[in-house]
């Protein structure tokens, strides 16, 4: 009899058991995510495309600057002209929600890991696994639990987006100069005050890199999730691939680049700006 290690043999029953016993919980999670996604998508798609472009460009211009406004206009304009407006908006909604949840999980854990070496040691192998396992492997249990659609896609995306944010959060907080933290203690600041007024501003540049990585990797994953029926640009890419339609594949690919540029520059600009304004 050949020797074979098969963790799947253990994991599959676990997933089944989870499915059988926690169906209610998963159903609620599923419904909440669907609702939020649906609301964002509906908001983005209810207005005419040109109006959305104008509003977003205006917001980018007011919040960040002229260059960001032009960039937003161009990226969204391309998506519209490529005939992929609806798919692009779906993708933006998916990535937005996934990144929000990833950051909400990774940021506090990252701070904790920066403070407690033991927690970091415990997290490191988990993060390594999360990052190196081919991403579509996550899709299998996610689909088994949440069935096809956007929810498993977003769960897999969150799992994929957490490690870079967490690692860079830890790095960012480790990198806060010791004397600044000491200053906070020496002037009698509450630890919470030290966190908000000293550590986070000092960690901001590295945190922004983390956020940026989180967004770009999430976007890559969301596209992959087109395989499980998540819709959006991923679905267009999948369609182009399965039908061997070069034109569709290329258009969808470039639209993904446009969305990536948009999300990256806007998030960076907004946070940079806020960090700078807090100082004035």
């Amino acid at each position: 009899m050949p020797m074979q290690i098969s963790p799947g043999a253990f994991l599959a029953p676990v997933v089944d058991w989870l499915n059988a016993n926690f169906h209610g919980v998963f159903a609620i999670v599923s419904r909440v995510i669907e609702a939020v996604l649906g609301a964002i998508e509906a908001a983005l798609l209810s207005l005419p495309a040109l109006a959305v472009i104008a509003v977003l460009a205006l917001l980018a211009g007011l919040a960040i600057g002229l260059r960001a406004a032009i960039l937003a206009g161009c990226c969204l304009g391309f998506c519209l002209l490529a005939g992929l407006w609806q798919a692009s908006m779906q993708t933006i909604a998916l990535v937005g929600v996934a990144v929000f949840i990833s950051v909400a999980i990774a940021f506090p854990l990252g701070i904790l890991a920066a403070r407690r070496p033991r927690i970091e040691a415990a997290l490191r192998p988990i993060l390594d696994v999360m990052q190196t396992v081919p991403p579509w492997v996550y899709l299998i249990p996610a689909v088994m639990i949440f069935s096809l659609g956007r929810v498993p896609a977003i769960i897999a995306t969150i799992v994929y987006g957490i490690p870079p944010m967490l690692r860079l959060t830890t790095l960012a907080f480790r990198g806060v100069p010791r004397d600044l933290k000491e200053l906070g203690q020496a002037i009698g600041a509450h630890p919470r005050t030290i966190l908000w007024k000293i550590e986070i501003p000092a960690a901001m540049p590295t945190l922004l890199v983390g956020l940026n990585q989180c967004i770009l990797l999430s976007l890559a994953m969301v596209v992959l999730a087109g395989l499980v029926g998540a819709g959006g640009l991923g679905a267009e890419v999948t369609r182009g691939l399965t039908r061997m339609e070069m034109g569709l594949g290329l258009r969808a690919g470039l639209a993904i680049v446009a969305v990536a540029l948009l999300l990256d520059r806007l998030s960076r600009g907004a946070l940079d700006r806020r960090a700078a304004r807090r100082g004035i």
Binding site: E182, L183, Q185, I187, A275, R278, G279
Partner: protein, 371 residues
Amino acid sequence: MGIDMTNAASTEVLIDCRNLWKVFGDRSKEAIASITQRGLSKTQILQEFNCVVGVSDASLKVHRGEIFCIMGLSGSGKSTLIRLLNKLITPSLGTVFVKGRDISGLDGPELRRMRARHIGMVFQSVALLPQRTVLENAAFGLEVQGIPREQRNEAARAALAKVGLSDWTARYPSELSGGMQQRVGLARALTADPEIILMDEPFSALDPLIRRQLQDEFRQLTKDLGKSAVFITHDLDEAIRIGDRIAIMKDGAIIQVGTAEEIVMNPADQYVADFVAGISRLHLVKAHSLMQPAEAWRATTEGRDMTHLPRCTTEADIDTLIACITEGDHDAVAVEDDGRIVGVITVRDLLRGVRGEAAEASGPSPAENAA
């Protein structure tokens, strides 16, 4: 002038630390136990427990209005010691009383209040927040205490004016030179109006000219405002320039405490002696430690008349004495106290003083003579 300021230090003790120890390492508890029970040395602790002794059995008192310098080379434990005073580092053993309260007994909020109100701190690295303006940096201590903006900015402006930075309030730290940044650091400590300021090698990274200027300003400001300060330095010249009293640290222990003159004239051991060897005595050594008793002088000179000699006070330094003697054509100067001549300093005594030797051991001490 320096003398009057020294005497201005009152007898009220603001910081009193007794037998402080700090041992770093995983087995510091065991190490401390064996220090108290078996009296192990620093090297034995390192060998046996792999623990580093940062501060060993340090005791000191800082009085109100006094500038107390702690001088030691890197690794002597001076930075650790100063952090024990506001409990940035918790001592392994021993107690610190600040204004009569044992700070080891303070809980979190009490300790924060103590640091915020009574103990300011200035760092070698300055530790300014780069994304805040000079004014906001100076007001930061009050900001974290929740003082309203108007009020804290007013206090910060006043503090910045004291250090001569009124025109720079809207600038960012990166726009300032090193010396100016350190002034902001000092202003930040002054804004909260604490009684005690801990200075952790604040001027070490500055170039010599600026350093000297800041030393003088710091001393002047501290005395004007009636603050007390603990000042860490690795530079004996700086300690002498600034400190009313100086503690010399080596290997975590305080090996001598005294005024600059006491330390220069009577070094406790060879280590201190080597340290003070290069120090100019001109402004340090005072007439009272150089003079020989008037009677002794009269005996050796067969009753020469002292009234023709130039006069000086007991606190005149060597530089003044040399000026006194060389102005006229004299070979000695009379030292008077309360209008009475208490001693005489000859050219020979002066030369010995320049070399760092006290009055000749054969004669009675100035104190006995005065009595």
